[in-house]
Symmetry: none
Subunit: 456 residues, 2 copies
C-alpha cells in the first residue's frame, strides 16, 4: 500500500463514482427477456471501461445466453496470474414501490450508493476495475498478471458459464481466482469466505385415485394424496429439524472444537436476526448455533407444496394429487447425487399404502471448501487487515454459488472469496446499496493484495 | 304410473334434454364471486321454467347471498303437500384441463349428459320440474300439492338457508320434503338415504418470518412454515387414518351388531371400487368396512394445501406462509361447533415453536338420521321398485346436506332423500355426468310417487 495509490484514489474518487453511476443506470436484469438489449449495453460499457484503463484483448464473448466480457494484462513476467470474476447482471427490482429512490437512478445518501446492483455485483466488479486502473496509472505496470472474466448470468444460475469455463480453460488459466460477491462479517469486520454449501433438489408427486373424489362419498374410505404427502414429509425431519433420512449425515464432518470456538468468537447476534425477521423464535437442529446451522450443517427444506383446492372457502374434495419441492443444502463431503438417492429411498420406504409416489430431480451443486492454508489466503487476510485494522474472519456461507465449484473443479486453482458488501445491504431486495467506506477500503485492499502477490 | 305419462315423457324427451342443456350452460358457481351474475341468471331461468309448466306464485326471493326460487301449485284439496328442495348452484370446475368436454358446454356421450351440475344438482332439480310438468300436461291437475324451493348456496354450505327456512316456515309448510341429491346404491339399485354425515371445516394458516427467505442464507436456522404445517397435519391422523384429535370420537355411537349385519348384507363390492378409482389399495380406519367408514364413521380429510413455490423447477425459498383446508364428516351425535373447537385446540397444542398459526372456520352441518318407519318412505320405496324392478336399499350417505338437518328441525316433517345419481358420476370433480337412463327412470319414479301419495 503506497501513499501514491491512496492519493490517486482520493483524487479520482468523484470521477469513479460518476462512472459507477453510469454503469448502475443500465437495467441489466438477466432474468427478464425485455432487458436483453440492456445486457448487451452493460457488456459494451465494460469493454470500453476495461480498454480505457489499459487492459488488452478486451472482447465480448458469446455464450448460449448473455455474453461474457474478457480482458487481460499479461506483462508481469514470472509473476502470478490473478483471474478476477464478477457479474454485470442484477436481480429483478419488484416490489418497485418499496424503493426509496428508483433502482436504476443511483443516488448517494449518507455515504451509501443506492441502486440495484450497487453491491451485488456491479459495484464490487467496478471496484476491481478501478483497483487495476490505479495500479497501472501510478506504477505504469501491474505487480501481477490480470485476467477479467465478467459474466451476465450469475443471478439466473450461471446457466452457460460451466460450458464456457470448460471450453476456455486455456484462456482462463491462472494461479488464483479472486471473487468479490460475498459479504463482510459486519461493519469493519472483514471476512474471507472459505466454504459454500452445495445443493440437491427434488420434486415429490403423490397420486391417489384417478381423479379428485367427493369427501362425503369417499371420505374415510380411500387414500388422500395430501395426507400421504404430509406423512412422507413429516418423516423426513424430527421436531427439531434434524433430518431423519437414513444415511443423510454419514459423510458430514463433525465440527472440531477449534472450529466451534472460531464460530463462537464471531459473536453472531441471534436476537437481532429474530427481530429483523419478525420471528418469535429461531428454529433448527439442537446443539448447533445459528451460524453453525446455516454455514456448516446440511439442511432439508420444503420450498413449496400444493395439492387439492386452493381457492376461497372450502371444497370438500379428496385430492387425487399432491406435490412438494424439496431442496437440501449440503456440506463437505456430501455428494448431491448420493444424497438425492438417499432421499428417494427414504420416500419409497415411507410411502403409505394406496398411493403412488414419483420423484423428479432438479439442480444440484457440490459443496465447496477452500484450502485455507494456501498462501494466497494468508496474503489476502494480511491485505485486509492492513486496511481495516481488524482481524479477518474465515467465514462460511450457507448459500451456493454453483460456478465456484465449477471453477475449482475445472481450473484447479485456489479461489479467494473476498467480498466488501455488508449482509444488511439488501441485495436481491428493494433499496440495495453499497457503503462507500467499503468501496474505498476495497480499492485499497485489492491493490494491496496484488502488490503482496507480486512480491511473493 | 300410466302409459299416457310414459308416452308424454318419451315424446318430449329431446325437448327436455335441450332445456336441460340450456340450464347447464349457465356457470352458476356459488363459491366464486365473479359468477354472481350467473347465479341470478340461473334463478331467472328457473322462474321462467316453473311458470311455463304452470306453477303459481313463482318468485325470486332474496337472501343475504344468492337468491332462492319459490313456486307452488296448491289446488289438490285434501291432498298432502310435497315440498321439493333442489339447488341450482354448482361446484367450481378446476382442474379444467381434466375435462374431456368443457364443463359448461353440455355434451351427451354414450347416453350420459356431461356438464358441471349434470347430476349435482341441476339435472335432478330439472327432473323434478319435468315430472310435475308431465303430470299437469297429461292430467290437467296434480295428485298432490307441490311447492318448489330451489336454492343457490348448497355447495357453499347453504349459508343463508337456515335463516330463510326459519323466516318462511308458513310458506314452506308441507307434509313431506323430497330431495333428489343423493345417489342410487349402484346401477339399477335404487336407494333411499336415511342418514347423512355432518360437516365441520377449517382453514389453517401458518406464518413464519415476515417474508420468504433465501434457503442458502437462512436454511437450517429459521422455522419453515410448510414443515410446521406438515407436522400439525400429520399429528391429526395416525397411519391408518384414525383421527388423533383428542375427544374427537367421544360422542360417536358405536355400531350395533344388527347395524353391522345390515351393512354387510348390502354386499358392497370393495374390489370393484378399487378398480374403478384405479387405486392399488383402499385406505382407512382399521376394523371397519368401506361402507361403515364412509357412511357412519367420522372423518378428517385435508382438501387442499398450498405454500411457497409452485412453479416449474426449483426455487430455493423458505416460505413465510403455508395453508391447508380441512373438513370433517360427522356422524350422530357429533356437534360441528364442538368438533371445530377440538380441532382448534389440537392445532394449538401441536404448533411447533417459531411459527404463528391462525384458523378460520367455514361451513358446518349437523349429521342427520331419518325416521324410516313413516309411510312416506314406504311409498317412495314402492314407487322406485315398480320402475326399477329391484328392491330399494335404505342407505346412508357419507356426504352432508347441511340444510337437511335444518329442515328436519324447523319444519318437523319427514324428509325423503330419493336421488337418481350414481356414485361414479364425478360430482364435484371433472367430467361430472348424469346417466340418461336414470333421468328417464327418475321422471317415472317421481310421477309414480306423487300419484301414490295422492291416493293415500
Amino acid at each position: 500500500m503506497t501513499n501514491r495509490l491512496q492519493e490517486y484514489l482520493t483524487e479520482h474518487r468523484a470521477g469513479h463514482l460518476e462512472q459507477l453511476s453510469e454503469f448502475l443506470k443500465i437495467p441489466s436484469i438477466s432474468a427478464l427477456s425485455e432487458h436483453k438489449g440492456d445486457m448487451r449495453k452493460s457488456a459494451e460499457w465494460l469493454v470500453a471501461s476495461l480498454q480505457e484503463i489499459g487492459m488488452e484483448n478486451v472482447t465480448i464473448m458469446e455464450t448460449g445466453g448473455h455474453p461474457v466480457v474478457y480482458g487481460d494484462w499479461l506483462h508481469a513476467a514470472d509473476k502470478p496470474t490473478v483471474l478476477i470474476y464478477g457479474h454485470y447482471d442484477v436481480q429483478p427490482v419488484d416490489p418497485l414501490e418499496l424503493w426509496e429512490s428508483p433502482p436504476f437512478e443511483p443516488t448517494i445518501r449518507d455515504e451509501k450508493i443506492y441502486a440495484r446492483g450497487a453491491t451485488d455485483d456491479k459495484g464490487q466488479t467496478f471496484m476491481h476495475i478501478k483497483a487495476v486502473e490505479a495500479l497501472l496509472k501510478v506504477h505504469n505496470e501491474l505487480p501481477v498478471n490480470i485476467k477479467f472474466l465478467i459474466e451476465g448470468e450469475e443471478e439466473i444460475g450461471s446457466v452457460h458459464l460451466d460450458q464456457f469455463v470448460d471450453e476456455n480453460k486455456e484462456l482462463l488459466r491462472a494461479d488464483v481466482l479472486v471473487i468479490s460477491d460475498t459479504p463482510l462479517l459486519a461493519k469493519g469486520k472483514p471476512a474471507i469466505c472459505t466454504g459454500l454449501r452445495g445443493l440437491a433438489s427434488l420434486q415429490i408427486s403423490v397420486k391417489g385415485a384417478k381423479g379428485d373424489l367427493h369427501s362425503g362419498l369417499y371420505g374415510g374410505g380411500v387414500p388422500n394424496s395430501i395426507h400421504a404427502l404430509v406423512q412422507i414429509l413429516d418423516s423426513m425431519r424430527d421436531q427439531d429439524g434434524r433430518i431423519q433420512v437414513e444415511g443423510f449425515y454419514d459423510k458430514v464432518e463433525e465440527l472440531t472444537e477449534q472450529e466451534r470456538a472460531a464460530f463462537k468468537a464471531l459473536n453472531d447476534d441471534e436476537e437481532a436476526l429474530k427481530k429483523e425477521l419478525e420471528l418469535p423464535e429461531l428454529f433448527g437442529e439442537k446443539g448447533y448455533s445459528l451460524l453453525e446451522r446455516t454455514w456448516v450443517r446440511p439442511t432439508l427444506e420444503v420450498n413449496g407444496i400444493y395439492g387439492g383446492f386452493q381457492g376461497e372457502g372450502v371444497k370438500t374434495v379428496i385430492p387425487a394429487e399432491a406435490h412438494a419441492k424439496i431442496t437440501c443444502r449440503l456440506v463437505p463431503e456430501q455428494d448431491p447425487e448420493e444424497v438425492t438417492a438417499l432421499l428417494e429411498k427414504h420416500i419409497e420406504n415411507h410411502t403409505p399404502p394406496g398411493v403412488t409416489v414419483t420423484t423428479k430431480r432438479y439442480d444440484t451443486g457440490k459443496p465447496f471448501a477452500a484450502p485455507v492454508d494456501h498462501k494466497v489466503f494468508q496474503l489476502a487476510a494480511k491485505a485486509y487487515e492492513e486496511v481495516y485494522q481488524a482481524p479477518v474472519a474465515f467465514s462460511r456461507m450457507g448459500g451456493s454459488i454453483p460456478v465456484v465449484e465449477t471453477f475449482a473443479h475445472v481450473l484447479r486453482i485456489p479461489i479467494v472469496l473476498m467480498g466488501f458488501g455488508l449482509p444488511s445491504e439488501n441485495f436481491h431486495a428493494p433499496n440495495e446499496h453499497f457503503h462507500l467506506e467499503n468501496f474505498d477500503k476495497g480499492l485499497l485492499t485489492l491493490t494491496n493484495y496484488y502488490q503482496k502477490l507480486g512480491r511473493e
